[in-house]
Subunit: 325 residues, 2 copies
Protein backbone atom coordinates (compact mmCIF):
# COMPACT_ATOMS: atom_id res chain seq x y z
CA UNK A 1 0.00 0.00 0.00
CA UNK A 2 1.76 3.11 -1.25
CA UNK A 3 1.40 6.42 -3.07
CA UNK A 4 1.94 4.79 -6.47
CA UNK A 5 -1.26 2.81 -5.99
CA UNK A 6 -3.13 6.01 -5.15
CA UNK A 7 -1.74 7.73 -8.24
CA UNK A 8 -2.66 4.73 -10.36
CA UNK A 9 -6.18 4.73 -8.91
CA UNK A 10 -6.40 8.43 -9.68
CA UNK A 11 -5.50 7.68 -13.27
CA UNK A 12 -8.26 5.07 -13.53
CA UNK A 13 -11.04 7.00 -11.80
CA UNK A 14 -10.38 10.74 -12.22
CA UNK A 15 -12.71 11.00 -15.23
CA UNK A 16 -15.52 9.34 -13.25
CA UNK A 17 -15.40 10.71 -9.71
CA UNK A 18 -16.42 14.24 -8.87
CA UNK A 19 -13.59 16.54 -7.88
CA UNK A 20 -15.43 18.01 -4.90
CA UNK A 21 -14.65 21.66 -4.06
CA UNK A 22 -13.09 23.05 -0.86
CA UNK A 23 -15.71 25.24 0.82
CA UNK A 24 -15.72 27.68 3.73
CA UNK A 25 -18.04 30.02 5.58
CA UNK A 26 -17.19 33.08 7.68
CA UNK A 27 -19.85 31.95 10.19
CA UNK A 28 -18.06 28.62 10.76
CA UNK A 29 -14.70 30.39 11.02
CA UNK A 30 -16.13 32.52 13.84
CA UNK A 31 -17.44 29.45 15.68
CA UNK A 32 -14.20 27.51 15.34
CA UNK A 33 -11.84 30.37 16.09
CA UNK A 34 -9.82 29.58 12.99
CA UNK A 35 -10.37 29.22 9.27
CA UNK A 36 -12.40 26.04 8.55
CA UNK A 37 -12.16 24.40 5.13
CA UNK A 38 -14.68 21.74 4.15
CA UNK A 39 -14.18 18.91 1.66
CA UNK A 40 -17.80 17.89 0.90
CA UNK A 41 -17.71 14.28 -0.21
CA UNK A 42 -21.47 14.21 0.38
CA UNK A 43 -21.50 15.71 -3.14
CA UNK A 44 -19.61 12.67 -4.48
CA UNK A 45 -21.53 10.20 -6.67
CA UNK A 46 -23.80 8.03 -4.45
CA UNK A 47 -23.52 10.67 -1.73
CA UNK A 48 -20.25 9.61 -0.11
CA UNK A 49 -16.51 9.19 -0.65
CA UNK A 50 -17.05 5.43 -0.83
CA UNK A 51 -17.64 5.64 -4.57
CA UNK A 52 -13.96 6.50 -4.99
CA UNK A 53 -12.74 3.28 -3.41
CA UNK A 54 -15.42 1.18 -5.06
CA UNK A 55 -14.65 2.53 -8.52
CA UNK A 56 -10.94 2.03 -7.88
CA UNK A 57 -11.44 -1.58 -6.79
CA UNK A 58 -13.87 -2.60 -9.54
CA UNK A 59 -11.66 -0.95 -12.18
CA UNK A 60 -8.63 -2.90 -10.88
CA UNK A 61 -10.32 -6.28 -11.50
CA UNK A 62 -9.78 -8.41 -14.60
CA UNK A 63 -12.54 -8.55 -17.21
CA UNK A 64 -13.21 -12.13 -16.14
CA UNK A 65 -13.60 -11.14 -12.48
CA UNK A 66 -15.96 -8.34 -13.43
CA UNK A 67 -17.99 -10.75 -15.57
CA UNK A 68 -18.48 -13.07 -12.58
CA UNK A 69 -19.49 -10.19 -10.33
CA UNK A 70 -18.54 -8.65 -6.98
CA UNK A 71 -19.81 -8.90 -3.42
CA UNK A 72 -19.59 -6.47 -0.53
CA UNK A 73 -20.61 -6.15 3.12
CA UNK A 74 -21.82 -2.69 4.01
CA UNK A 75 -24.19 -0.72 6.20
CA UNK A 76 -24.81 1.48 3.23
CA UNK A 77 -22.33 3.88 1.71
CA UNK A 78 -19.82 1.29 0.51
CA UNK A 79 -22.83 -0.67 -0.77
CA UNK A 80 -24.02 2.18 -2.96
CA UNK A 81 -20.52 2.90 -4.22
CA UNK A 82 -19.93 -0.73 -5.20
CA UNK A 83 -23.40 -1.04 -6.74
CA UNK A 84 -22.91 2.01 -8.98
CA UNK A 85 -19.31 1.20 -9.91
CA UNK A 86 -20.27 -2.38 -10.81
CA UNK A 87 -23.21 -1.25 -12.93
CA UNK A 88 -21.14 1.37 -14.72
CA UNK A 89 -18.39 -1.14 -15.53
CA UNK A 90 -20.62 -3.94 -16.81
CA UNK A 91 -20.38 -6.06 -13.67
CA UNK A 92 -23.00 -7.16 -11.12
CA UNK A 93 -22.99 -6.66 -7.36
CA UNK A 94 -24.35 -8.62 -4.39
CA UNK A 95 -24.48 -6.51 -1.24
CA UNK A 96 -24.88 -7.95 2.26
CA UNK A 97 -26.44 -5.29 4.46
CA UNK A 98 -27.62 -5.16 8.08
CA UNK A 99 -31.42 -5.09 8.20
CA UNK A 100 -31.26 -2.02 10.50
CA UNK A 101 -29.26 0.12 8.06
CA UNK A 102 -30.95 3.42 7.07
CA UNK A 103 -33.79 2.67 4.71
CA UNK A 104 -32.55 5.20 2.17
CA UNK A 105 -29.26 3.34 1.87
CA UNK A 106 -30.95 -0.05 1.38
CA UNK A 107 -33.40 1.36 -1.18
CA UNK A 108 -30.72 3.23 -3.12
CA UNK A 109 -28.47 0.18 -3.28
CA UNK A 110 -31.30 -1.80 -4.87
CA UNK A 111 -32.19 0.97 -7.32
CA UNK A 112 -28.52 1.14 -8.36
CA UNK A 113 -28.92 -2.41 -9.60
CA UNK A 114 -27.40 -4.47 -6.80
CA UNK A 115 -28.86 -7.65 -5.31
CA UNK A 116 -29.32 -6.84 -1.60
CA UNK A 117 -29.13 -9.63 1.03
CA UNK A 118 -30.15 -8.47 4.53
CA UNK A 119 -28.91 -9.98 7.80
CA UNK A 120 -29.88 -9.34 11.41
CA UNK A 121 -26.90 -7.60 13.06
CA UNK A 122 -28.44 -7.50 16.56
CA UNK A 123 -29.42 -11.19 16.51
CA UNK A 124 -25.83 -12.12 15.74
CA UNK A 125 -26.36 -13.53 12.24
CA UNK A 126 -22.95 -14.21 10.70
CA UNK A 127 -22.60 -11.99 7.64
CA UNK A 128 -19.22 -13.50 6.84
CA UNK A 129 -20.72 -16.96 6.57
CA UNK A 130 -23.53 -15.68 4.37
CA UNK A 131 -21.01 -13.91 2.16
CA UNK A 132 -18.60 -16.82 1.94
CA UNK A 133 -21.35 -19.17 0.81
CA UNK A 134 -22.56 -16.78 -1.90
CA UNK A 135 -19.04 -15.98 -3.08
CA UNK A 136 -18.10 -19.61 -3.48
CA UNK A 137 -21.32 -20.58 -5.21
CA UNK A 138 -21.05 -17.81 -7.81
CA UNK A 139 -17.33 -17.03 -7.99
CA UNK A 140 -17.83 -13.46 -6.76
CA UNK A 141 -14.90 -11.21 -5.86
CA UNK A 142 -15.14 -9.69 -2.38
CA UNK A 143 -14.61 -5.93 -2.18
CA UNK A 144 -13.81 -5.13 1.43
CA UNK A 145 -15.02 -1.77 2.72
CA UNK A 146 -11.67 -0.54 4.05
CA UNK A 147 -9.00 -3.20 4.60
CA UNK A 148 -8.35 -3.54 0.88
CA UNK A 149 -5.46 -1.82 -0.91
CA UNK A 150 -7.37 -0.81 -4.04
CA UNK A 151 -10.17 0.64 -1.91
CA UNK A 152 -7.71 2.63 0.21
CA UNK A 153 -6.03 3.78 -3.01
CA UNK A 154 -9.35 5.10 -4.30
CA UNK A 155 -10.13 6.94 -1.07
CA UNK A 156 -6.63 8.39 -1.19
CA UNK A 157 -7.54 10.27 -4.38
CA UNK A 158 -9.51 12.63 -2.14
CA UNK A 159 -6.22 13.29 -0.36
CA UNK A 160 -4.52 14.19 -3.64
CA UNK A 161 -7.31 16.69 -4.30
CA UNK A 162 -7.11 18.18 -0.79
CA UNK A 163 -3.34 18.52 -1.14
CA UNK A 164 -3.78 20.54 -4.34
CA UNK A 165 -6.67 22.59 -3.02
CA UNK A 166 -4.86 23.42 0.21
CA UNK A 167 -1.84 24.60 -1.77
CA UNK A 168 -4.10 26.77 -3.95
CA UNK A 169 -5.62 28.26 -0.78
CA UNK A 170 -2.18 28.98 0.63
CA UNK A 171 -2.48 26.46 3.48
CA UNK A 172 0.89 24.98 4.26
CA UNK A 173 0.32 23.37 7.65
CA UNK A 174 -3.01 22.15 9.02
CA UNK A 175 -4.77 19.35 10.77
CA UNK A 176 -7.15 17.52 8.43
CA UNK A 177 -9.95 15.91 10.40
CA UNK A 178 -11.26 12.79 8.67
CA UNK A 179 -14.43 10.89 9.56
CA UNK A 180 -13.17 7.44 10.50
CA UNK A 181 -14.76 3.99 10.63
CA UNK A 182 -12.31 1.25 9.65
CA UNK A 183 -9.78 3.83 8.52
CA UNK A 184 -9.80 3.42 4.75
CA UNK A 185 -10.55 7.07 4.07
CA UNK A 186 -8.17 8.36 6.73
CA UNK A 187 -5.27 6.09 5.74
CA UNK A 188 -5.64 6.78 2.01
CA UNK A 189 -5.63 10.52 2.65
CA UNK A 190 -2.67 10.20 5.03
CA UNK A 191 -0.60 8.41 2.38
CA UNK A 192 -1.47 11.06 -0.18
CA UNK A 193 -0.35 13.80 2.21
CA UNK A 194 2.89 12.02 3.04
CA UNK A 195 3.86 12.27 -0.63
CA UNK A 196 2.17 15.49 -1.71
CA UNK A 197 1.55 17.72 1.30
CA UNK A 198 3.75 16.82 4.28
CA UNK A 199 2.48 19.87 6.20
CA UNK A 200 -1.01 18.37 6.37
CA UNK A 201 -1.71 15.87 9.17
CA UNK A 202 -4.70 13.51 9.34
CA UNK A 203 -6.70 13.46 12.58
CA UNK A 204 -9.19 10.55 12.59
CA UNK A 205 -12.54 11.43 14.13
CA UNK A 206 -15.06 8.98 15.59
CA UNK A 207 -18.35 8.93 17.50
CA UNK A 208 -18.41 8.37 21.27
CA UNK A 209 -18.44 4.67 22.28
CA UNK A 210 -17.20 3.67 18.81
CA UNK A 211 -13.73 5.15 19.07
CA UNK A 212 -11.76 1.99 18.35
CA UNK A 213 -9.28 3.83 16.10
CA UNK A 214 -8.66 6.63 18.59
CA UNK A 215 -8.03 4.16 21.42
CA UNK A 216 -5.94 1.90 19.17
CA UNK A 217 -3.71 4.81 18.15
CA UNK A 218 -3.28 5.82 21.79
CA UNK A 219 -2.62 2.24 22.96
CA UNK A 220 -0.36 1.24 20.08
CA UNK A 221 -2.34 -1.93 19.38
CA UNK A 222 -5.81 -2.76 18.02
CA UNK A 223 -8.66 -2.05 20.45
CA UNK A 224 -12.22 -3.26 19.89
CA UNK A 225 -15.52 -1.45 20.46
CA UNK A 226 -17.74 -2.83 23.21
CA UNK A 227 -20.97 -2.80 21.15
CA UNK A 228 -21.48 -3.73 17.47
CA UNK A 229 -23.98 -0.92 16.81
CA UNK A 230 -25.98 1.80 18.52
CA UNK A 231 -24.65 5.12 17.20
CA UNK A 232 -26.51 7.58 15.01
CA UNK A 233 -23.25 7.66 13.08
CA UNK A 234 -23.95 4.27 11.48
CA UNK A 235 -21.70 4.94 8.50
CA UNK A 236 -18.53 4.95 10.57
CA UNK A 237 -19.24 2.24 13.13
CA UNK A 238 -16.80 -0.66 12.78
CA UNK A 239 -15.78 -3.20 15.43
CA UNK A 240 -12.01 -2.78 15.17
CA UNK A 241 -9.44 -0.90 13.00
CA UNK A 242 -8.22 -2.56 9.83
CA UNK A 243 -5.01 -4.56 9.72
CA UNK A 244 -3.77 -2.46 6.80
CA UNK A 245 -5.18 0.88 7.91
CA UNK A 246 -4.07 0.95 11.55
CA UNK A 247 -0.31 0.73 10.88
CA UNK A 248 -0.57 3.48 8.27
CA UNK A 249 -2.36 5.77 10.71
CA UNK A 250 0.03 4.85 13.54
CA UNK A 251 2.85 6.05 11.35
CA UNK A 252 1.21 9.14 9.83
CA UNK A 253 -1.81 10.39 11.78
CA UNK A 254 -2.19 12.60 14.81
CA UNK A 255 -4.34 11.65 17.79
CA UNK A 256 -7.97 10.75 17.17
CA UNK A 257 -10.85 13.02 18.20
CA UNK A 258 -14.12 11.72 19.66
CA UNK A 259 -17.45 13.59 19.38
CA UNK A 260 -20.92 12.86 20.71
CA UNK A 261 -23.97 12.05 18.59
CA UNK A 262 -25.45 15.39 19.70
CA UNK A 263 -22.38 17.25 18.49
CA UNK A 264 -22.72 15.48 15.15
CA UNK A 265 -26.38 16.55 14.93
CA UNK A 266 -25.39 20.12 15.78
CA UNK A 267 -22.76 20.08 13.04
CA UNK A 268 -25.39 18.77 10.58
CA UNK A 269 -27.61 21.75 11.40
CA UNK A 270 -24.70 24.13 10.81
CA UNK A 271 -23.82 22.43 7.51
CA UNK A 272 -27.46 23.00 6.54
CA UNK A 273 -27.54 26.69 7.44
CA UNK A 274 -23.99 27.73 6.61
CA UNK A 275 -22.89 25.47 3.77
CA UNK A 276 -26.22 24.42 2.21
CA UNK A 277 -25.02 20.83 2.46
CA UNK A 278 -26.76 17.68 3.65
CA UNK A 279 -24.44 15.72 5.94
CA UNK A 280 -25.26 12.39 7.58
CA UNK A 281 -24.33 12.02 11.27
CA UNK A 282 -21.21 9.96 10.57
CA UNK A 283 -20.31 12.43 7.84
CA UNK A 284 -20.56 15.39 10.21
CA UNK A 285 -18.26 14.22 13.02
CA UNK A 286 -15.16 15.93 11.60
CA UNK A 287 -16.97 19.26 11.30
CA UNK A 288 -18.25 18.74 14.84
CA UNK A 289 -14.69 18.21 16.03
CA UNK A 290 -13.50 21.44 14.36
CA UNK A 291 -16.36 23.45 15.85
CA UNK A 292 -16.72 21.95 19.32
CA UNK A 293 -13.28 20.51 20.15
CA UNK A 294 -11.14 23.31 18.80
CA UNK A 295 -8.78 23.25 21.75
CA UNK A 296 -7.43 19.89 20.54
CA UNK A 297 -6.50 21.34 17.14
CA UNK A 298 -3.40 23.31 16.18
CA UNK A 299 -2.94 26.11 13.68
CA UNK A 300 -4.77 28.92 11.91
CA UNK A 301 -6.52 26.60 9.48
CA UNK A 302 -8.32 23.30 9.83
CA UNK A 303 -9.61 21.11 7.01
CA UNK A 304 -12.52 18.73 7.60
CA UNK A 305 -14.17 16.09 5.46
CA UNK A 306 -17.92 15.75 5.22
CA UNK A 307 -17.73 12.12 4.25
CA UNK A 308 -21.34 11.44 3.29
CA UNK A 309 -24.89 12.77 3.12
CA UNK A 310 -27.06 9.66 3.06
CA UNK A 311 -29.37 10.41 5.95
CA UNK A 312 -33.05 9.61 6.39
CA UNK A 313 -35.30 12.66 6.59
CA UNK A 314 -36.41 11.96 10.17
CA UNK A 315 -32.84 12.07 11.49
CA UNK A 316 -32.16 15.26 9.55
CA UNK A 317 -35.31 16.83 10.95
CA UNK A 318 -34.17 15.89 14.46
CA UNK A 319 -30.92 17.78 13.84
CA UNK A 320 -32.78 20.85 12.58
CA UNK A 321 -35.34 20.78 15.39
CA UNK A 322 -32.64 20.66 18.04
CA UNK A 323 -30.00 22.92 16.61
CA UNK A 324 -31.13 25.13 13.72
CA UNK A 325 -31.24 28.66 15.08
Amino acid sequence: MNIDMIRAAHGRIADHVRRTPLLSSPFLDDLAGRRVWIKPECLQHTGSFKYRGARSAVSALTDEQRARGVIAFSSGNHAQGVALAARQMGSTAVIIMPADAPRMKIDNTRVLGAEVVLYDRAAGEDRDAIGAELSEARGLTLIRPFDEPQVIAGQGTAGLEIAEQAADAGIGRADVIVCCGGGGFASGIALAFEAQAPGLRVRPCEPEHFDDMTRSLAAGHPCRNAAPSGSLCDAIVTPVPGQITLPILQRLAGPGIVVTDDEALHAMALAFSRLKLVAEPGGAVALAAALFHHDTIDGDDVIVTISGGNVDADVFQTALSRYAA
Copy 2:
Protein backbone atom coordinates in the same frame (compact mmCIF):
# COMPACT_ATOMS: atom_id res chain seq x y z
CA MET B 1 -25.52 45.46 -21.79
CA ASN B 2 -23.45 42.96 -23.76
CA ILE B 3 -21.11 39.99 -23.59
CA ASP B 4 -18.04 42.20 -23.19
CA MET B 5 -19.40 43.43 -19.86
CA ILE B 6 -19.91 39.84 -18.73
CA ARG B 7 -16.36 38.92 -19.73
CA ALA B 8 -15.03 42.00 -17.95
CA ALA B 9 -17.03 41.09 -14.82
CA HIS B 10 -15.61 37.57 -15.03
CA GLY B 11 -12.12 39.07 -15.09
CA ARG B 12 -12.84 41.10 -11.97
CA ILE B 13 -14.60 38.42 -9.91
CA ALA B 14 -13.37 34.99 -11.07
CA ASP B 15 -10.80 34.76 -8.26
CA HIS B 16 -13.48 35.52 -5.67
CA VAL B 17 -16.64 33.65 -6.71
CA ARG B 18 -16.94 29.89 -6.43
CA ARG B 19 -16.99 28.05 -9.72
CA THR B 20 -19.90 25.80 -8.76
CA PRO B 21 -19.90 22.28 -10.26
CA LEU B 22 -22.46 20.74 -12.62
CA LEU B 23 -24.10 17.85 -10.75
CA SER B 24 -26.46 15.03 -11.69
CA SER B 25 -28.20 12.02 -10.18
CA PRO B 26 -29.51 8.90 -11.90
CA PHE B 27 -32.57 9.08 -9.63
CA LEU B 28 -33.48 12.54 -10.95
CA ASP B 29 -32.85 11.43 -14.54
CA ASP B 30 -35.40 8.67 -14.06
CA LEU B 31 -37.98 11.08 -12.66
CA ALA B 32 -37.49 13.63 -15.42
CA GLY B 33 -37.26 11.19 -18.30
CA ARG B 34 -34.08 12.84 -19.53
CA ARG B 35 -30.64 13.70 -18.20
CA VAL B 36 -30.90 16.47 -15.59
CA TRP B 37 -27.84 18.67 -14.89
CA ILE B 38 -27.82 20.90 -11.85
CA LYS B 39 -25.86 24.15 -11.40
CA PRO B 40 -25.91 24.54 -7.59
CA GLU B 41 -25.52 28.25 -6.89
CA CYS B 42 -26.71 27.51 -3.36
CA LEU B 43 -23.04 26.62 -2.88
CA GLN B 44 -21.98 30.12 -3.95
CA HIS B 45 -20.68 32.48 -1.25
CA THR B 46 -23.62 33.81 0.84
CA GLY B 47 -25.71 30.87 -0.40
CA SER B 48 -26.93 32.28 -3.71
CA PHE B 49 -25.85 33.48 -7.17
CA LYS B 50 -26.50 37.05 -5.99
CA TYR B 51 -22.93 37.32 -4.72
CA ARG B 52 -21.75 37.26 -8.35
CA GLY B 53 -23.71 40.37 -9.33
CA ALA B 54 -22.94 42.16 -6.08
CA ARG B 55 -19.21 41.56 -6.35
CA SER B 56 -19.31 42.64 -9.98
CA ALA B 57 -21.15 45.86 -9.16
CA VAL B 58 -19.07 46.82 -6.11
CA SER B 59 -15.84 46.08 -7.98
CA ALA B 60 -16.97 48.33 -10.85
CA LEU B 61 -17.31 51.39 -8.56
CA THR B 62 -14.63 54.05 -8.14
CA ASP B 63 -12.58 54.07 -4.94
CA GLU B 64 -14.40 57.23 -3.93
CA GLN B 65 -17.84 55.62 -4.42
CA ARG B 66 -16.75 52.61 -2.40
CA ALA B 67 -15.49 54.89 0.37
CA ARG B 68 -18.91 56.58 0.63
CA GLY B 69 -20.71 53.23 0.71
CA VAL B 70 -23.48 51.40 -1.12
CA ILE B 71 -27.20 50.85 -0.55
CA ALA B 72 -29.48 48.06 -1.73
CA PHE B 73 -33.12 46.99 -1.49
CA SER B 74 -33.52 43.24 -1.05
CA SER B 75 -35.68 40.54 0.51
CA GLY B 76 -32.46 38.77 1.36
CA ASN B 77 -30.14 37.14 -1.15
CA HIS B 78 -29.05 40.32 -2.93
CA ALA B 79 -28.67 41.84 0.54
CA GLN B 80 -26.21 39.21 1.68
CA GLY B 81 -24.28 39.39 -1.57
CA VAL B 82 -23.92 43.16 -1.37
CA ALA B 83 -23.05 43.03 2.34
CA LEU B 84 -20.24 40.54 1.80
CA ALA B 85 -18.89 42.15 -1.36
CA ALA B 86 -18.86 45.59 0.30
CA ARG B 87 -17.09 44.26 3.39
CA GLN B 88 -14.51 42.40 1.31
CA MET B 89 -13.76 45.49 -0.76
CA GLY B 90 -13.41 47.97 2.09
CA SER B 91 -16.81 49.59 1.58
CA THR B 92 -19.93 49.75 3.78
CA ALA B 93 -23.47 48.69 2.94
CA VAL B 94 -26.94 49.85 3.99
CA ILE B 95 -29.62 47.27 3.16
CA ILE B 96 -33.33 48.05 3.11
CA MET B 97 -35.23 44.80 3.74
CA PRO B 98 -38.90 43.91 4.18
CA ALA B 99 -39.61 43.09 7.80
CA ASP B 100 -41.24 39.79 6.72
CA ALA B 101 -38.14 38.45 4.93
CA PRO B 102 -36.85 35.09 6.23
CA ARG B 103 -35.16 35.65 9.55
CA MET B 104 -32.02 33.85 8.47
CA LYS B 105 -31.55 36.32 5.63
CA ILE B 106 -31.98 39.35 7.89
CA ASP B 107 -29.64 37.94 10.54
CA ASN B 108 -26.98 36.95 8.04
CA THR B 109 -27.03 40.35 6.37
CA ARG B 110 -26.34 41.98 9.73
CA VAL B 111 -23.59 39.51 10.63
CA LEU B 112 -21.94 40.20 7.26
CA GLY B 113 -21.49 43.76 8.46
CA ALA B 114 -24.32 45.62 6.75
CA GLU B 115 -26.61 48.18 8.40
CA VAL B 116 -30.12 46.72 7.96
CA VAL B 117 -33.16 49.04 7.71
CA LEU B 118 -36.49 47.18 7.84
CA TYR B 119 -39.74 48.38 6.25
CA ASP B 120 -43.29 46.99 6.39
CA ARG B 121 -44.07 45.62 2.92
CA ALA B 122 -47.69 44.68 3.71
CA ALA B 123 -48.49 48.09 5.26
CA GLY B 124 -47.31 49.76 2.06
CA GLU B 125 -44.29 51.60 3.48
CA ASP B 126 -42.37 53.15 0.58
CA ARG B 127 -38.94 51.55 0.49
CA ASP B 128 -37.88 53.79 -2.38
CA ALA B 129 -38.53 56.92 -0.32
CA ILE B 130 -36.61 55.47 2.62
CA GLY B 131 -33.73 54.57 0.33
CA ALA B 132 -33.67 57.90 -1.50
CA GLU B 133 -33.49 59.82 1.75
CA LEU B 134 -30.60 57.71 3.07
CA SER B 135 -28.73 57.80 -0.23
CA GLU B 136 -28.90 61.54 -0.49
CA ALA B 137 -27.95 62.15 3.13
CA ARG B 138 -24.86 59.91 2.92
CA GLY B 139 -23.90 59.89 -0.75
CA LEU B 140 -24.49 56.14 -1.08
CA THR B 141 -24.46 54.39 -4.45
CA LEU B 142 -27.58 52.31 -5.13
CA ILE B 143 -26.95 48.75 -6.30
CA ARG B 144 -30.18 47.54 -7.91
CA PRO B 145 -30.96 43.84 -7.51
CA PHE B 146 -31.47 43.08 -11.22
CA ASP B 147 -32.06 46.08 -13.48
CA GLU B 148 -28.42 47.14 -13.30
CA PRO B 149 -25.90 46.31 -16.06
CA GLN B 150 -22.98 45.47 -13.73
CA VAL B 151 -25.22 43.17 -11.69
CA ILE B 152 -26.51 41.39 -14.81
CA ALA B 153 -22.89 41.10 -15.96
CA GLY B 154 -21.95 39.37 -12.71
CA GLN B 155 -24.86 36.94 -12.88
CA GLY B 156 -23.85 36.22 -16.47
CA THR B 157 -20.57 34.73 -15.27
CA ALA B 158 -22.61 31.71 -14.17
CA GLY B 159 -23.67 31.42 -17.82
CA LEU B 160 -20.04 31.40 -18.95
CA GLU B 161 -19.39 28.54 -16.52
CA ILE B 162 -22.47 26.59 -17.64
CA ALA B 163 -21.44 27.04 -21.29
CA GLU B 164 -18.03 25.50 -20.55
CA GLN B 165 -19.40 22.76 -18.33
CA ALA B 166 -22.07 21.79 -20.85
CA ALA B 167 -19.44 21.54 -23.59
CA ASP B 168 -17.28 19.35 -21.30
CA ALA B 169 -20.31 17.11 -20.68
CA GLY B 170 -21.00 16.84 -24.41
CA ILE B 171 -24.26 18.78 -24.26
CA GLY B 172 -24.74 20.74 -27.49
CA ARG B 173 -28.43 21.65 -27.31
CA ALA B 174 -30.54 21.97 -24.18
CA ASP B 175 -33.07 24.08 -22.37
CA VAL B 176 -31.52 25.76 -19.32
CA ILE B 177 -34.20 26.47 -16.74
CA VAL B 178 -33.33 29.51 -14.63
CA CYS B 179 -35.08 30.61 -11.43
CA CYS B 180 -36.43 34.05 -12.29
CA GLY B 181 -37.47 37.06 -10.22
CA GLY B 182 -36.67 40.34 -11.98
CA GLY B 183 -34.66 38.49 -14.60
CA GLY B 184 -31.09 39.50 -13.79
CA PHE B 185 -29.84 35.92 -13.50
CA ALA B 186 -31.78 34.72 -16.55
CA SER B 187 -30.78 37.62 -18.79
CA GLY B 188 -27.11 37.48 -17.81
CA ILE B 189 -27.02 33.76 -18.54
CA ALA B 190 -28.89 34.25 -21.83
CA LEU B 191 -26.33 36.82 -23.01
CA ALA B 192 -23.49 34.48 -22.09
CA PHE B 193 -25.10 31.66 -24.08
CA GLU B 194 -25.70 33.87 -27.11
CA ALA B 195 -21.95 34.39 -27.35
CA GLN B 196 -20.56 31.13 -26.01
CA ALA B 197 -23.17 28.38 -26.36
CA PRO B 198 -25.84 29.19 -28.94
CA GLY B 199 -27.33 25.69 -28.57
CA LEU B 200 -28.37 26.45 -24.98
CA ARG B 201 -31.65 28.29 -24.46
CA VAL B 202 -32.77 29.98 -21.23
CA ARG B 203 -36.24 29.14 -19.93
CA PRO B 204 -37.22 31.47 -17.05
CA CYS B 205 -39.09 29.72 -14.25
CA GLU B 206 -41.39 31.38 -11.70
CA PRO B 207 -43.80 30.50 -8.90
CA GLU B 208 -47.55 30.44 -9.48
CA HIS B 209 -49.25 33.86 -9.09
CA PHE B 210 -45.86 35.60 -9.41
CA ASP B 211 -45.26 34.79 -13.06
CA ASP B 212 -44.84 38.34 -14.34
CA MET B 213 -41.91 37.41 -16.58
CA THR B 214 -43.68 34.41 -18.12
CA ARG B 215 -46.76 36.49 -18.90
CA SER B 216 -44.69 39.43 -20.11
CA LEU B 217 -42.78 37.20 -22.53
CA ALA B 218 -46.05 35.72 -23.82
CA ALA B 219 -47.75 39.12 -24.13
CA GLY B 220 -44.80 40.98 -25.60
CA HIS B 221 -45.03 43.79 -23.05
CA PRO B 222 -44.44 44.14 -19.29
CA CYS B 223 -47.14 42.53 -17.11
CA ARG B 224 -47.40 43.11 -13.37
CA ASN B 225 -48.17 40.63 -10.57
CA ALA B 226 -51.46 41.09 -8.73
CA ALA B 227 -49.99 40.78 -5.21
CA PRO B 228 -46.68 42.17 -3.85
CA SER B 229 -45.92 39.08 -1.73
CA GLY B 230 -47.40 35.79 -0.57
CA SER B 231 -45.28 33.02 -2.13
CA LEU B 232 -43.00 30.64 -0.28
CA CYS B 233 -40.55 31.49 -3.07
CA ASP B 234 -39.78 34.90 -1.55
CA ALA B 235 -36.38 35.16 -3.26
CA ILE B 236 -37.87 35.44 -6.74
CA VAL B 237 -40.99 37.51 -6.10
CA THR B 238 -40.78 40.85 -7.92
CA PRO B 239 -43.68 43.07 -9.05
CA VAL B 240 -42.72 43.42 -12.73
CA PRO B 241 -39.84 42.46 -15.07
CA GLY B 242 -36.88 44.79 -15.37
CA GLN B 243 -36.62 47.35 -18.14
CA ILE B 244 -33.21 46.02 -19.08
CA THR B 245 -33.87 42.33 -18.47
CA LEU B 246 -37.19 41.91 -20.29
CA PRO B 247 -35.96 42.97 -23.76
CA ILE B 248 -32.95 40.64 -23.41
CA LEU B 249 -35.18 37.71 -22.53
CA GLN B 250 -37.71 38.60 -25.25
CA ARG B 251 -34.89 38.31 -27.75
CA LEU B 252 -33.09 35.26 -26.36
CA ALA B 253 -35.23 33.16 -24.01
CA GLY B 254 -37.82 30.46 -24.60
CA PRO B 255 -41.24 30.50 -22.94
CA GLY B 256 -41.41 30.77 -19.16
CA ILE B 257 -42.45 27.86 -16.94
CA VAL B 258 -44.66 28.26 -13.86
CA VAL B 259 -44.58 25.86 -10.88
CA THR B 260 -46.57 25.69 -7.66
CA ASP B 261 -45.18 26.21 -4.15
CA ASP B 262 -45.86 22.52 -3.48
CA GLU B 263 -43.83 21.49 -6.51
CA ALA B 264 -40.99 23.69 -5.24
CA LEU B 265 -41.17 21.98 -1.83
CA HIS B 266 -41.15 18.57 -3.51
CA ALA B 267 -38.07 19.55 -5.52
CA MET B 268 -36.38 20.72 -2.28
CA ALA B 269 -36.98 17.26 -0.76
CA LEU B 270 -35.46 15.61 -3.85
CA ALA B 271 -32.45 17.96 -3.78
CA PHE B 272 -32.02 16.86 -0.15
CA SER B 273 -32.18 13.13 -0.83
CA ARG B 274 -30.59 12.92 -4.29
CA LEU B 275 -28.10 15.78 -4.43
CA LYS B 276 -27.34 16.42 -0.73
CA LEU B 277 -28.07 20.08 -1.35
CA VAL B 278 -30.13 22.60 0.59
CA ALA B 279 -32.32 24.59 -1.80
CA GLU B 280 -34.66 27.38 -0.80
CA PRO B 281 -38.15 27.36 -2.36
CA GLY B 282 -37.37 30.05 -4.93
CA GLY B 283 -34.10 28.27 -5.68
CA ALA B 284 -35.88 24.98 -6.35
CA VAL B 285 -38.43 26.10 -8.94
CA ALA B 286 -36.23 25.26 -11.93
CA LEU B 287 -35.60 21.74 -10.63
CA ALA B 288 -39.34 21.43 -10.02
CA ALA B 289 -39.99 22.43 -13.63
CA ALA B 290 -37.56 19.80 -14.94
CA LEU B 291 -39.10 17.07 -12.79
CA PHE B 292 -42.82 17.91 -12.88
CA HIS B 293 -43.30 19.84 -16.14
CA HIS B 294 -41.11 17.75 -18.40
CA ASP B 295 -43.59 17.79 -21.26
CA THR B 296 -42.83 21.49 -21.81
CA ILE B 297 -39.11 20.80 -22.27
CA ASP B 298 -37.30 19.61 -25.40
CA GLY B 299 -34.27 17.39 -25.79
CA ASP B 300 -32.34 14.59 -24.10
CA ASP B 301 -30.71 16.92 -21.56
CA VAL B 302 -31.98 19.72 -19.38
CA ILE B 303 -29.88 22.03 -17.22
CA VAL B 304 -31.39 23.69 -14.14
CA THR B 305 -30.09 26.26 -11.72
CA ILE B 306 -30.53 25.92 -7.98
CA SER B 307 -30.25 29.64 -7.41
CA GLY B 308 -30.07 29.73 -3.61
CA GLY B 309 -30.20 27.82 -0.35
CA ASN B 310 -31.12 30.42 2.27
CA VAL B 311 -34.15 28.77 3.79
CA ASP B 312 -35.34 28.78 7.39
CA ALA B 313 -35.32 25.37 9.07
CA ASP B 314 -39.11 25.26 9.54
CA VAL B 315 -39.77 25.63 5.81
CA PHE B 316 -37.16 22.98 5.03
CA GLN B 317 -38.75 20.63 7.55
CA THR B 318 -42.14 21.20 5.91
CA ALA B 319 -40.64 20.09 2.59
CA LEU B 320 -39.14 16.96 4.15
CA SER B 321 -42.31 16.11 6.10
CA ARG B 322 -44.46 16.30 2.98
CA TYR B 323 -42.19 14.85 0.34
CA ALA B 324 -39.15 12.95 1.65
CA ALA B 325 -39.80 9.29 0.87
